[in-house]
Every structure is written in C-alpha cells, then in structure tokens.
C-alpha cells in the first residue's frame, strides 16, 4: 500500500499516478460529506490555514476556505491589498511571518511561476498551489479529472480537447500532466500563436482547427480567453476568435453524444462558449465547482498528514 508523504502540493508535473489516484479517491469520500446536512468532519481541527492570495480570485479562494472549514481548520484569508507586499515586504518575509504565527498550511495564489516552490523550499508549513502564474493550478486539474471520471469512468483512451489560450494557461498545463498520467489522449486546440507546436514535447496533439476534431472528443474543456490580459498581437479580435474557436451552437451540434462540456470559469458568455451551450444538459461547469470542494478537502487532508483515503 502506498502512503501519502508530501507536505506540499506544488504541481502535477513530477507526481506519481498513484498519488493522483489517491487524491481522486479521497475526494470521492469527501464528496459525500458535502451532501450531508452536517457538512463537517474533524480531520483538521486545531490546524490553521492561511489563504494567501497575492493575485485576485474569488471562486478558488472561497472553495479552499469552505474546504478547510468543512475539515474544521481555522482559516484566515489574506489578499494583496491587505498584505505587506504592497509595502515592499518580500514574499519570503511575509510567509515567514505567517509561519511565526503558527500557520500550518498556506494556500498560495501568485502571478509568478514557481512562487509556491519558492516558499515550499523555505518554510516548514505546507504550501498548496492555488495557481502560480502560467505554471500550474493543480487542484483545478484534479477537479476536472474528478468530474470526467464521475461521468466517464476510467479516462484511459478518452479524448479530451482543451481549447483556447494554452500558452498562458496554468490550468492547461496542470490538465495536460494529469490527463496524460491518467491515460487520456489530449488535444490542444487554438490559434498557432497561443498553441505552439512545441507543446507536442509534453505528449499531446496540437490542432489549429476545432472543426477538424470536434466530432471525436469525449470532453471539451474551454479555457477563458483573458482578453483583459491578452496582448493584441496573439489574435486580431474576440470576434475572430469566436468564429474560429468558440463553442457556438452550430459547433455544439457536432459534438459526440455524451461529450462533456467543461470550463474552469469564469466564463465569457458569447466568447469562448455560447450562452445556451454553457447552460445545456451536457455542460458540467457547475458540477466542476462542487467537485472542487471535495478535491480541495482531499488535498488539504492528505498534505496535513493524512496517510491515505479516509475511511
């Protein structure tokens, strides 16, 4: 029997298959907790968790906060505006201060790739990556795979398309690593500027025409087009993006029966996904959010010292 022995969750790259499966199995056990009227277990009672969000986020922060509360941990939220980083304190010093306050776990969201690894190398506290720049967002990928498994069973041989701004996406990177380890076939779909062919070195297929592959997919995962951050030279306009890569009603008709429509949120209705398609029966976008809670409970439980799947 394998025993969990990581204090941190920094990324999926470098994790073993059994570790991913252990998180997903533990999440399955915790999913039941959320469906009870008494939604709380004592697993992390007496532990202190700090949600340290240097980059703004609402859903991920709330999800981690609720996950920690359901495990009975004490939770403190810190955002950039309230932190001393604004006053010029370094990330290391801020985190060392949190540790001096006996924080057991720090959930970090930060715009710099590697910032979670940076803290994990320097602190005793557990560091949980809630998104570090364009590097990784492991809990998002785990909840995506959890959702796929709930519907499709084993992902071995399943065809999963990830559409959009792959180059700047931590969600895409973590998903690639997770899905490859779980045996799925991954298609990265988007314009040549945002989906360079060099991604093939990660064992995926790169495709610049959604219409060519849309009928083959078991899952289509649409990434948010971050037009507020997008430098304009990557594609000419949102309209052109939607015309080429948006999941429009016309394209949705060509999806295989049973193909899951996913999106990590927040969605831009009418841009990467048509509004009605987002609300259609095949869309599991809100289920992803619910599963995120179970997956994050599993991650916190294991990194806080849980040895395996809770009974």
């Amino acid at each position: 029997m394998n025993t969990w022995n990581r204090k941190d969750l920094l990324g999926i790259d470098g994790m073993e298959l059994w570790e991913i499966e252990m998180i997903l199995d533990a999440a399955k056990a915790f999913k039941g907790v959320g469906e009870r009227s008494l939604k709380k277990v004592p697993a992390l009672r007496g532990r202190t968790l700090v949600n340290f969000f240097v980059e703004p986020s609402t859903r991920t922060r709330v999800s981690f906060e609720l996950a920690a509360m359901r495990l009975s941990a004490d939770v403190v939220n810190m955002s950039t505006s309230a932190s001393s980083l604004q006053k010029g304190e370094t990330l290391k010093d801020t985190a060392k201060n949190l540790e001096a306050l006996h924080a057991d776990m720090i959930v970090l969201r930060h715009s710099s790739p590697g910032s979670c690894r940076f803290l994990a190398d320097r602190l005793q506290a557990s560091i949980i990556n809630a998104g570090d720049g364009a590097h990784e967002h492991p809990t998002q990928a785990l909840l995506d795979s959890f959702t796929m498994r709930e519907h499709l069973g084993s992902l071995a041989g399943k065809k999963v398309g990830i559409v959009g701004d792959i180059l700047f996406s931590r969600v895409a990177r973590s998903n690639i690593h997770t899905l490859r380890k779980l045996g799925a076939e991954v298609f990265l779909i988007g314009p040549t500027t945002l989906v360079p062919r060099s991604f093939e070195s990660m064992g995926v297929r790169v495709c610049h025409c959604l219409d060519d592959v849309i009928g083959e997919l078991d899952v289509i995962n649409l990434l948010r087009i971050q037009h507020e951050r997008q430098r304009k030279e990557y594609f000419p306009s949102l309209g052109e993006y939607t015309a080429l890569f948006g999941l429009t009603k016309a394209r949705a008709v060509r999806l295989r029966e049973g193909c899951l429509i996913m999106h990590p949120g927040p969605i831009n209705r009418g841009v990467e996904i048509d509004s009605d398609v987002a609300d259609s029966a095949r869309s599991v976008i809100l289920e992803q959010v619910t599963h995120g809670l179970a997956v994050r409970m599993a991650v916190l439980y294991l990194c806080a010292g849980g040895k395996g799947v809770p009974a």
Partner: protein, 427 residues
C-alpha cells in the same frame, strides 16, 4: 631596482607563440629578456613555478563592479579581489552603474576610486548613450580623453539602428571598439529564460534565440557599413555563431565573447526556479552549447569573459520573475573553461584557452597587455592546470553570493596573480 624570477614553469605566451619550460624575469614591474640580465646588486625574488603554467595576466573584458551607486552588491575593492582570486590582472568594468558612466566626470571619479582601492588593473568602458537610455549619444570623445577603452550600453541594447550607426561612425574616429549586448526588446519582451521546452513547461516567459540573433545580424551589417569594429557580448545562441562565422570569413570587423555559465548549464536548471540560474541573456540548450564550443575552437568566438554581475542575496531571493538578472563569475570562469574545454572536451589546449583571455582581448581593446614580451607591464597569472577543487561561494571575496557554481567541482585553478610585478593574490 628589484628583480623577480619566475622559475621552471611551463611558460605560455600566445602573443609570441612561446610555449615551453623556462624562466620569466621581471625588473621594476616590467618583463625583461634573458639577455638583459647583466645587472648586479640588489636581491632577486624567486618564485618557483615547477608544474605550473606561467601565463600573461588574464584579462576579463566584461565585469560589473557596481560602483558608484550599488556598493552593497560589489565595490572596486571587492570586485578586484575576486578578479585577483580568479587569476585576472585586468578587467573592463561596464558602465551601467548608478549613475551610469556616461560622462568624463564619472570616469575621472571612478579612476580615482580605482587608484585608491583596486587590487588589479581596472579599465573603464563608457556608455554609448546618455543614461544608457538608447536615445542620445553620450559624450564619447570626452570620455575617450578621460580614458575609457570601449563604449557599450551593456545591460541595455540600442534599439534604434540609425543611432547605433551614428555611434559606430563616431567611435571609429577614436579607434574605439563598441561592445553590444545583443537583445531585441520587441522579440524578447519580458522573457526571463530561454524560449523552449522548459519555458513552456514551467510557464515562464521565453527569451527566444532570435532576440539575440537579429541584433547580431544588425551589428554585422552596421559594422560592415561603417567599417568599424563591433564586439558582441555574451553570445548564447548557436545561430549567432553561424552568423558571426560567415561575417568573419568575409572580413567584417565583428567579434564575440562567450561566458562560462552559458557553456556549463542549460535551461533545464530553471526547473528549480532558482534565481541563480537567471541571467541575461539566458541559459540555453545543449545544442547551443555544442555550437558555441565549436565557435570558440575555430576562432569565431575569440574572447572569453565572465559578465561578473553581483546581486545581494535578498535581491535574488524573490519570485524568479522579479529577481534581477546576473551571477558572479570572476572567481570561477578560468576553472570552468579549463574543466570544460581543456579537460572534459579536449577542445582547446592551454595555449588556446590562454589566448582567448590574453592576446585576443588585448588586441580588441588595443591594450599593451596580455603578453610576456620584454618591455610589457609584468602582469602574470600562475595556473595549476591539474588542480582539482570545489568552489565554495561562502568563501568568495565578493560582497554578493549569487553563484550557480557553488559546490561545482573544477580541474585547473589560478594559484598566484601578479600585477606590475607585485603579487596581489596567491592561494
């Protein structure tokens, strides 16, 4: 009158082609030939050099000493001690200090500092443009009069080709070489590591080869147009080597240097997100290393240098995209190149390695250094070619500690550094 005899070493002087066991004589800080030794009286200091290489004092034409303005990182005093400990008797300091070396007043101020504090010879380079701003020419002629040996905006790159052309034409009037840090701002953007499989995996912004190559190509064309020398600093891309080789074959006055870290490490080192592997230009791939080595061997790249760039630990120990570029280099460069090029790859012999640190940079800078010829200033480096050792950055003379070479094992080390006949450092 004082006489020194360095006895019994393998004397290597690429400038004259001398390579054999023998003695080197110094009188009053200047080399003298055997036939001049009919002087009587006074004492002779003997330095036994059996088993050692006796080389002309090594020259590093690319260092950052941070003075004035950032003396918490390095000073002329600490930087020149690093140079001495690395076997270097002469260095060229880059002008990107605070304020920048872009006026004769700053040159003169620094020269006074050097006179007071330097352990080795420090030559100064001046800025191409005012404040390294890339917009207006700095007073190049006045800086030449004050004593600069080259001009460069190192750390920055003049993007305006017309301005670069004027700078070259103007510098030509003084016979002054122009050094360029080859980086196209548009193509590089906010890139912090080599654009390749690793940057893709790590989600770090890429610094593509083309960002260097396009400026190397620009420099070749401008050098040819103006018939004036341009020296491309810290070349990293295999593509740049090809461009340089082709241009040199046509007789273009283009030259280039390579730094040890670009041959020792690859972009895979960034997997640790350790900012000590972050420098500008960035570490590249094994394929680039192989082409750079070929370029060093066939003379396309005729100069080796460190780009010694100290930064305080607290400045480097931050998120990698916020950390400053640059690493220490003076204390490890000779050892790294000797380990890699002489011992491991057997790509160069000692004479070839020493030439790239002595006669070649001296010729580029038009300095009467880098030779053991009678009459030249007696700068000498004694090297133990087979000494195995391990670098401990904790023992460094630098005020900073930002070296990725910490704990690396080397073969070959400078053991004594002599400047103007005076031993300034010995192991």
């Amino acid at each position: 009158m004082k006489e020194i005899c360095i006895r019994g070493g393998r004397v290597i002087d690429p400038a004259s082609g001398r390579d054999g066991v023998g003695d080197v004589w110094i009188r009053d800080g200047v080399f003298v030939g055997e036939r001049d030794l009919h002087w009587e009286g006074g004492e002779v200091e003997e330095i036994l050099a059996e088993g050692l290489i006796v080389a002309p004092g090594l020259i590093d034409l690319h260092v950052h000493f941070r003075e004035p303005g950032q003396t918490h990182k390095e000073t002329v005093a600490s930087g020149t001690l690093c140079a001495a400990a690395g076997g270097f008797t002469s260095v060229v300091a880059m002008p990107n200090t605070s304020p920048a070396v872009d006026s004769p007043a700053t040159v003169t101020w620094l020269q006074e500092k050097i006179r007071q504090a330097a352990a080795v010879n420090v030559f100064l380079s001046g800025a191409i443009t005012k404040g390294l701003g890339g917009e207006e020419l700095a007073p190049i002629g006045s800086m030449v009069k004050a004593g600069v040996v080259a001009i460069t905006d190192d750390g920055r790159c003049v993007q305006n080709h017309e301005l670069m052309r004027r700078a070259l034409e103007y510098a030509k009037m003084f016979g002054l070489p122009l050094f360029d840090h080859c980086q196209d701002y548009g193509l590089v953007g906010d890139g912090i590591m080599h654009e390749g499989d690793w940057s893709l995996r790590l989600g770090l912004p890429g610094w593509p080869r083309i960002g260097e190559e396009i400026i190397v190509a620009r420099n070749i064309m401008l050098s040819e147009l103006c018939d004036a020398p341009v020296h491309c600093q810290h070349i990293t891309s295999g593509g740049s080597v090809r461009l340089l080789r082709e241009a040199k074959a046509r007789g273009v006055k283009i030259s280039a240097e390579v730094c040890p870290h670009h041959l020792w490490f690859t972009d895979a080192c960034l997997e640790s997100f350790d900012a000590n592997f972050k420098m500008n230009p960035p570490l590249r791939e094994q394929g680039d290393i192989d082409l750079l080595v070929e370029g060093v061997v066939d003379g396309t790249i005729e100069v080796l240098a460190s780009d010694h760039a100290p930064h305080a630990a607290y400045e480097k120990e931050v998120e990698i995209d916020q950390a400053p570029f640059g690493i220490l280099g003076l204390e490890t460069e000779l050892a790294a190149f000797s380990t890699l090029l002489v011992h491991r790859r057997k790509a160069l012999d000692w004479s070839g390695l020493i030439a790239r640190y002595t006669v070649n940079p001296a010729r580029l800078l038009r300095l009467e250094r880098g030779t053991l010829a009678a009459g030249a200033v007696a700068d000498v480096t004694l090297i133990d070619p087979g000494m195995g050792w391990r670098y401990d950055v904790g023992e460094s003379f630098s005020l900073s500690r930002n070296s990725p070479f910490h704990d690396q094992e080397f073969v070959g080390r400078a053991v004594r550094t002599i400047v103007g006949g005076k031993t300034v450092w010995s192991l």
